[in-house]
Structures are given as C-alpha cells and as structure tokens.
C-alpha cells in the first residue's frame, strides 16, 4: 500500500500528459494477466537450470539455488508477485482520487510556502486516508478466500512449499482430489462462505461507521 500511494503521488507530479499515460498503462498491465501467464513469467525467473535469477547468480560467482524447494524465500516471492501484479492498479485508483482534490488547496499551500513533500504530506495523504482505510477493510473481507491462482499456480503446486504457500482454498482442493468427496467439498465451501459472509458484514458495519456513504447497504 505504501508503494501504491507513493507511486500514485509520483505519477501525479508528472507534467507530461503523454508520458503519464504511457507509464500508467505500463504499471497497470500486470493486473490484466491471468495467473497461468504469471506463473510462466515467474518460472522464467526461477527455473533451476535455465532461470534468469540463477544465471545472474552464477555470473556473480554464487551457486545456483533450487528456488522451488527453498521455503524461506516463498513468502517474499509471493508478496513480490502480488505487488508486481496489483500495485499499478491500486496506484491508478489512488491517482484517480488524487485528481479529484481541488486545486485550491495546493494553491493555498504554495502561497504559504509549502514544498512538494509538505504538500503531499499535509494535503494529498489526508485526502487519501478514507480511501486507504476502505481498500484495506475490503481486502479483509477477502482474506479468508486466498487468491487460489496465486497460491496454486505460481508455486506450481509444489509439495515442499506447502508449509508456506498453502491456503484454505488449496488445502480443500487437494483434500477433495485425494478423497474425491463432493459432499465434503461442498460443505467446506459453505463453511467458507459463512465465514466470508460474517467478515464482509462486519467490514460493512465498520465502513458504515467511518463514512456511511461508502457502505454497501
């Protein structure tokens, strides 16, 4: 989120409209890729024999790593992949809301002698606060439903990595494949829905408290 906000601040400062447009397009691009494609991209980096990362390490005189076997790196990899995929999109969302801030605030600030950083800190960020809170809370609603694609496709369903990549969805999916029991899978799905439902209702309540006009119902 920090990344996304700073990115949007920077983007907002760009004077060339054309460059801004091109960069926005570039940043948002990964958001539109399917997880299948993302997993292929990740594989191009991490493949043991051919991957770019290992090639670079070898060039620098380090030994090759088997990335798909080393648990400790995966939380970082998944965070990075997720950031790569979604930061641009969030930045554009923030950017959109920055552009709705009235110019007058900035003009007044400039008269008071505020520099760019101060403007960002005292005007832009407070304006974004509501939106940041809401984005955060909405993502809480989704926590219980892990991103199946991210956790299943990107680590290539690799058993070694389960301790760090397994989320409820992938666990259920695998259990279903092993036991092949539809009844159990449906029941697990329902259980998941109920918890998700409660989470979203709570989230909605909180949103309601913070700013009623954003609540869903």
């Amino acid at each position: 989120m920090f990344l996304a906000v700073s990115l949007s601040l920077l983007l907002n400062e760009l004077h060339s409209k054309k460059l801004a447009k091109v960069l926005q397009t570039i940043f948002i691009m990964p958001h539109f890729l399917s997880m299948t494609v993302v997993s292929i991209v990740v594989f191009a980096f991490l493949s043991v024999n051919n991957g770019l990362l290992n090639n670079i390490l070898e060039l620098l005189g380090y030994s090759r790593h088997n990335w798909y076997m080393e648990r400790k790196f995966w939380p970082l990899f998944l965070v990075l992949v997720n950031a790569w995929k979604h930061v641009g999109y969030s930045a554009v969302v923030y950017l959109a809301s920055i552009s709705s801030i009235s110019e007058e605030y900035y003009e007044a600030a400039i008269i008071d002698g505020a520099n760019k950083l101060q403007q960002a800190w005292y005007i832009t960020i407070p304006h974004l606060r509501t939106m940041m809170t809401i984005l955060l809370i909405l993502s809480v609603g989704g926590i219980f439903r892990g991103d199946f694609g991210l956790f299943y496709t990107v680590p290539q369903d690799n058993g070694v990595l389960y301790p760090v990549t397994d989320v409820i969805d992938t666990y259920i999916y695998r259990s279903m494949r092993v036991l092949n029991n539809v009844g159990m899978a449906t029941a697990a799905g329902l259980y998941q829905s109920v918890v998700g439902f409660i989470l979203v209702l709570t989230t909605n309540k909180i949103v309601n408290k913070i700013s009623p006009e954003y609540a869903m119902f």
Binding site: N49, G159, L179, G183, A187, K205
Partner: protein, 534 residues
C-alpha cells in the same frame, strides 16, 4: 442495516439447499440401480431383433486426432450393422479427462460406458456406487473376453465383491524395461545386461557409471551433463505392492523389504530402511552427475536426448521397441526377469459401465465386439484402410505408407492412430502394426502368463474408518515424498528430512492407517484362503 423478512427467508432457503446438496454427495449417487431389471435379450439373438440403441461413451485418449469424426462415423455405421448400436462418443486428451471426469461422475451425468483407472480414483468411485456391477453379466455377454483375460485381471477390478470394469488385454503385469542408446553402447563397447539377466534398477547402476566415464572421455564438453534422466520411482529399486497410500506389502517371491513378511504384512513404505536407501542413492547419483539436477525441468526441449548424448531411460511395460524409435541412432531394449501383476497395474486402465446406464447388456455386447472383432479393432486403433493404413508387401498392417499417416515424424500429427493404449480393449483383436515383429502376440502372452499373480490382487481398502488420517497423511506425503523433494536428489540432509517426514506421518495417524488396513487385509486373506499374518 436492517434485513427484511424476505431476505432472511431467502438466506435460510439457500443455506438449507446448500446443506442438503452437501450431505447428499456421499451416499445417494448410485447403488439403487443394482436392482434394475435385467431383461436383456440372450446372446444368440439375431441382429435385426435388437432395437437401436445409442450408447454414451466417455473416454480419455492420448491425443485427439484430427480425423476422429471421419473414422468414428464409419465405425458407427459398422456397429449399427452388427449389433444395432451407435456410439455418442466423448473423447478427451488424458489430462483434460482427469480434470473433467470426477465432476462429470459426481454430477450424475448420463453415461453408458466410461474409461476408468486408478488415477481417476476408480476404487472410491466404485465404493460410492458410480459403476454398474458386471459379475452376473460376464458369462452371458462377455464370454470370449472372459476367456482372453487372465483370472488375476478380473480380481484386480473387483471392489467389495463386485466386478466394476473390463480391463483391456495388453501388458497386465509390470516388467522393468531399460531402453538404451545402442549406438552409444556399441561405440564405447559397453556390456548391457541382456533380457532376463537382471532384476531391478540396482543392476543397471554400474553400467551408468561406465557409460558416463566413456562418454566424457570421448566428449569432455559433455562432462557437466548427466548420462540419463532421473529414475525416481521407489518401485524400480525395491518392488512392492501398494495397498493404499503409504500402506504397502511385499511381493511374494521377491520380498524386497527385509523382515516385512511375504505379502500378508502391511507396512509403512516410508518408514523402511529401503526407502531411505533409495532417497540417498538418488542423491548420490545426482551428486555424481549420473542423474540431472532438477530433473523435472531438465532438457525440456529434449535437445540432448535427440542428439543421442544420453544413455537411455528406465521404464516399464515394454514388449519390444522399434530400433529406429529415435532418429539417427539405434535403440535397444532389455527387460528384467521380474514380472509382477498387481492390483494397481491392472487398474491403470479399463472400461466401466456407469451405474446410470439403461443398456448394460448392449454396452457389454459392444465391448465384447471391441475385444474380438478384427474389423472393428482395426478401425478403432488404426482408422480406415486406404486412408490411415495399408497392407504392405508382407501383408503387415503399415501406417507409414498411408496417405493420411505417411511421412509423419511427430506423433501428434498422425491423422488417426491409437495402437498401444488401454482405451480400446484387447490389443491383439486387430492386426499388429508392421513396426513390431510377428512374435509380438506371443511375447505379450508370455509376459502376462509368467507374471507373479500371488499378490493381494482384488483386495480393496475400505477407507471410511480412516478417511481423516488418509487425507491428513496425503498432504504430508505430497509435501515430502515427491519427485521434487525427497526423491529428487536435491535434499541436502536426507536423514533429517525423512525423520521429519516420519514424525509428521505419525502425528497424523499413520499407524492407525497401517493397523486398520492390516485388519482388513487379514479378513480378506482369510476369506480367500491365503495365509494371514499372525
């Protein structure tokens, strides 16, 4: 927010609908159909007296061929003439079939015949009543098929006393095969153990070292490459019979696992010292450059294989091979003296009838024809004469000189061709293609007849009492015992990893699984009159 009465009611309704469908899954899918009337016409009935029936057939094939519809419309014409049946066929490539078939079965989709196998959870589907029991119909509708198949094959597809599938006649027993680069072994004067002169992969390891030394001396730039792909199947080192998941038993006459009885004792494969030894050996072979590091992604484009720089591959189920299988070099084959028929191997592919079928008799008549009728078998496996195959000067069936299959170098590009596979019944019902020798049928028969059949063929575990333990252990097994972990040769400290593995298995109820399966095996062995563990 205030919910209206209506919405509360709605929530209730939908939840209850979900709960009901959640509870239904387990019990109600089948069973009832067993009582269905068996009023089929007797076998000697003339073709014209049978009313026309369209059978729905789901099957997995290795690759969907471009001329599939062209061939199958001819097959349908032929079948209509012979038994007044046409087929509504639904064929999928193997991986797609594996993805789709569980959903299709669980959704209760109407089918008459479906391709089944251990990897599609044959047993658990059978236990939940997905298939039509065949034992009462075989004598009447499959007499010739019954005569063709060895007795063990029927036992292997029996679940809880019912026969739920018709296995194909092909290699029904596992025999270790080593496919080697004969051009290379000739060039370096390497002595490959001949057919029947060796028993497991252990006997091949010295050869691998010799081959690597010879190749690297000849072509030093290849020194960093392995000599063959990884052999990571424990069975190839120490043969065993899988009962369920981690529970295995020794094969009588081989007893590869020391002190574990002779088939009557259930033990945890991963807790044996033999398993530990296999993992360590794989690591040693990887470390010493015999096997590739990260085998899963090694040489994905087969550049080294195609260039003939590797020694060969260790596999199963070969009868004979084409020496020109790989372009630019000669390929040799040597097979082990061990031949074992196990439930798992026989179950790898078969045709089952869905419990939904309204025409079990007609479906079996079709399968009987598929197993015995030469015209049908040739059409199904090789396509149409003149289009996809011709008979050569020696009278052998030849696909390479036909208009639609000739000149093809890539297996995927044949217009129509499925010779060797489980999907289409008796492999000897039709002609054998020109690229195998005329001795092929005899060799196949010897393989099946000489197999050790004194295993627990037909024993099926009832997983209900240990379902939770199995699910929990399955996740642990997937984590450790994978070809990307313990059996990859890439784990630094094998002992430590295995100890961790075993501790987790114990914590998840491995012993309970072993005890329960031992109990069930004792009951079963007593009922068929085999010696029971004391």
């Amino acid at each position: 927010m205030k919910k209206g009465f209506l919405s509360k009611l709605l929530v209730l309704l939908i939840i209850s609908a979900l709960v009901i469908s959640g509870c239904q899954g387990t019990g109600s899918t089948g069973k009832s159909t067993t009582e269905e009337t068996k009023t089929g016409s007797p076998t000697e009935a003339p073709d014209s007296s049978l009313e026309h029936v369209e059978l729905v057939w789901y099957s997995g094939v290795d690759h969907i061929r471009p001329d599939q519809d062209m061939v199958w419309s001819e097959i349908n014409k032929y079948l209509k003439e012979r038994i007044n049946v046409t087929l509504d066929y639904h064929f999928f490539a193997m991986a797609d079939y594996a993805d789709r078939i569980p959903t299709v079965i669980n959704a209760g989709q109407y089918m008459d015949i479906l391709f089944m196998g251990a990897r599609y959870d044959f047993v658990s589907h059978a236990q939940r009543g997905a298939f039509y029991p065949l034992e009462d119909l075989i004598d009447k509708y499959l007499p010739k098929t019954k005569a063709i198949l060895p007795k063990g094959a029927w036992e292997a597809v029996t679940v809880d006393g019912h026969i739920y599938g018709v296995p194909p006649y092909k290699d029904l027993a596992d025999r270790w095969s080593f496919l080697y680069n004969k051009t290379m072994t000739d060039k370096y004067n390497l002595k490959v153990p001949g057919p029947g002169e060796w028993s497991t992969f252990w006997d091949m390891i010295p050869l691998l070292y010799e081959a690597k030394a010879a190749r690297d001396a000849d072509e030093p730039e290849l020194a960093k490459y392995p000599i063959m792909g990884v052999v990571n199947v424990v069975n190839r080192y120490y043969p065993y019979e899988t009962l369920y998941s981690l529970a295995v038993a020794n094969i009588p006459g081989i007893e590869a696992y020391e002190g574990q009885g002779s088939g009557e004792t259930v033990f945890n494969l991963y807790a044996t010292k033999e398993y530990r030894e296999v993992c360590k050996t794989i690591k040693k072979l990887v470390d010493e450059g015999i096997f590739p590091y990260d085998a899963k992604n090694f040489d994905p484009d087969k550049a080294l294989v195609n260039a003939g720089k590797l020694l060969g591959s260790f596999a199963g189920g070969y009868i004979e091979i084409r020496p020109d299988m790989f372009v630019g070099r000669e390929t040799g084959l040597t097979t082990s003296k061990l031949v074992v028929m196990t439930t798992n191997y026989v179950q790898s592919g078969m045709q089952s009838l869905s419990s939904q079928t309204k025409h079990p008799e007609r479906a079996l008549m079709f399968l009987e024809l598929l197993n015995t009728d030469k015209t049908l078998a040739n059409m199904v496996r090789f396509g149409l004469e003149g289009q996809h195959y011709l008979y050569n000067d020696e009278g052998r069936l030849d696909i390479t000189i036909s208009p639609r299959n000739g000149g093809v170098t890539n297996y995927m590009e044949y217009g129509y061709y499925y010779w060797y596979g489980w999907q289409f019944g008796n492999i000897l019902a039709g002609d054998t293609p020109s690229f195998v020798s005329t001795k092929f049928p005899q060799l196949l028969k010897e393989l099946n007849d000489n197999a050790i059949q004194d295993t627990n063929l037909g024993f099926v575990v009832d997983t209900a009492p240990i379902a939770n333990e199995i699910a929990a252990c399955a996740n642990v097994i997937a984590e450790y015992d994978s070809d990307t972990y313990l059996r990859s040769g890439m784990v630094e400290d094998v002992d430590k990893a295995i100890d961790e593995f075993l501790a987790k298995l114990e914590a998840n109820g491995a012993q309970k699984i072993i005890d329960e399966i031992q109990r069930q095996l004792n009951d079963w062995r007593a009922s068929v009159g085999k010696p029971v563990k004391k």
